[in-house]
Amino acid sequence: MDERIKVDQVSFTYEEGADPALTSIDMKVQPGEFVAVLGHNGSGKSTLAKLLNALYIPTEGAVIVCGLDTRDESRVWDIRQQAGMIFQNPDNQIVATVVKEDVAFGLENLGVPTEDMPARIESALAAVRMNEFADSAPHMLSGGQKQRVAIAGILAMEPSVIIADEATAMLDPSGRKEVLDTVRRLNRQKGITVVWITHFMEEAAQADRVVVVNQGRIARMGSPREVFQHIDEMRDLHLDVPHMTALAAELRKGGMPIPQDVLTVEEMAQEVCKLLCPSD
């Protein structure tokens, strides 16, 4: 099958004469893939996200989503239904005063018949485990819960891609985990393709593939293991690497033969154990 998203030689400039926010971006996302786009603030990663569902139209090049060209104005609504987007600020994307009505918002815009709505809302809320809050007021929810409502609002529209534009940046660690886990589950169980924009290394480490963006260009692309091996380069890009990857490098410098591509505490513990655990 064809790729879900194809970004072909895309450049984007906000205003004529200004410096381009993105330059010659080329990337493809396969169906069912979980791709993290990593970059510091101002690197152009959010601009890239907004190009993926026709909120912005490329100045040069083309973005093809599910076979639809975002430059084709007549297909804008189809593209946005296919590629749902969640944003950074949980408060600023909830429209209605009741959770289930917010989930209905996209359906109302698509013109879904009223009698079909309750079932779709219920299953969307169930998928993000927010059923019990269907009748709550959004401002009484936690940040992570609000983001899950936003995800449900998109799910109800039955998209094939979810684009998360720094959806966890304003959340606390447990909220971050709750939102990332929800999206990962949807990715695995429903095969929804995910483009996850973030500046958190630990989140990118969980992706199938990482695209590192810097100064509007793709600086590096590959599996998390490959990308995070380049510790110095990542730091030069104002980014970081997972703590355990950094520790692995330090231990190697000290002469311990730990592989450079460990990402998590569990992996590190295993590798260290191979060398140091008492044999019994």
Binding site: K50, W77, R80, G84, T97, V98, K100, T114
Partner: protein
């Protein structure tokens, strides 16, 4: 915690009146106001009072909730009464004491105007106490939608009202936070004369506006991303349906108006 404020004066219980279609309730409230203005005798007001009392019972709303709505208006009520009492000089004189000159007509006008004002407030309170703000905004939108033909933005108006309702708690919380942040920098919102106080509001209002605009921009983009493109071809989750209850309510209102008319002819 400002999160828990109740919006408007909605009294969230379940009742016959609460379950009426908001459109019908708005229309009936207007009809009620017209009815009140048709009353010309104290007996008529007694009938209206009885109607209000029965309605409040059916709405499961304590009668004092209604009278509470009058409290902030007590000065205007007294003023209306006194102005009419002292400044209408036509008709037969009742009392003349120095410059005070009270006429029969003046007295009756004073009573009428203050009673009308009171019932006007009580009638609209009945509407807002039994209808949640969001239903109210739905009702207004639907009632105005025939005007779309003349390019009246009924849908946009409804959307604006419901977004405003959604963001009131958020902005209140934000106001509280900014106010505290500026107080932490030595700002003083409480003392000084009027001008000084107005000036002291600048550090609060500027960030609040900046933030409101930022939120509006974010929200507009989020709405577009969810395929919002105005009111055309849009369906609704909440559909207003006129039920038997609404007919009963209309009949009751018709009864009230009939009673008042008949009473006006007989007396």
């Amino acid at each position: 915690m400002l999160k828990n404020i109740t919006m408007g004066q909605y009294y969230p219980v379940d009742s016959f009146v609460h379950r009426l279609d908001p459109r019908i309730k708005i229309v009936l409230t207007i009809a009620f106001i017209v009815a009140v203005f048709m009353v010309h005798s104290l007996v008529g007001y007694a009938i209206v009072l009885g109607f209000v009392y029965l309605t409040s019972r059916m709405a499961n709303i304590p009668f004092r909730m209604l009278t509470k709505g009058l409290k902030p208006l007590r000065f205007i009520l007294v003023l209306t009464f006194l102005l009419n009492l002292f400044f209408s000089t036509e008709g037969t004189t009742l009392i003349r004491l120095g410059f005070i000159h009270i006429t029969h007509q003046g007295l009756s006008q004073a009573v009428h105007y203050s009673l009308r004002l009171m019932f006007l407030v009580v009638g609209t309170s009945l509407l807002t106490l039994t209808t949640s703000p969001i239903m109210l905004s739905d009702g207004i939108e639907m009632l105005l939608s025939p005007l779309k033909r003349f390019h009246f933005p009924a849908h946009e108006l409804g959307m604006m009202m419901s977004i405003a309702l959604r963001f009131i708690p958020t902005l209140l919380e934000e106001t509280d936070k900014i106010q505290k942040a500026q107080m932490a920098r030595g700002a003083d919102f409480e003392s000084g004369n009027l001008l000084q106080r107005a000036k002291a509001m600048v550090p609060l209002l500027v960030p609040l506006f900046v933030s409101a605009f930022r939120r509006a921009g974010d929200l507009a983009m989020a709405m577009e991303a969810r395929c919002y493109h105005g009111g055309e071809h849009r369906t609704r989750l909440r559909v207003l349906k006129i039920t038997q209850k609404d007919f009963i309510a209309c009949a009751a209102m018709a009864g009230l108006i009939l009673l008042i008319v008949v009473e006006g002819i007989i007396l």
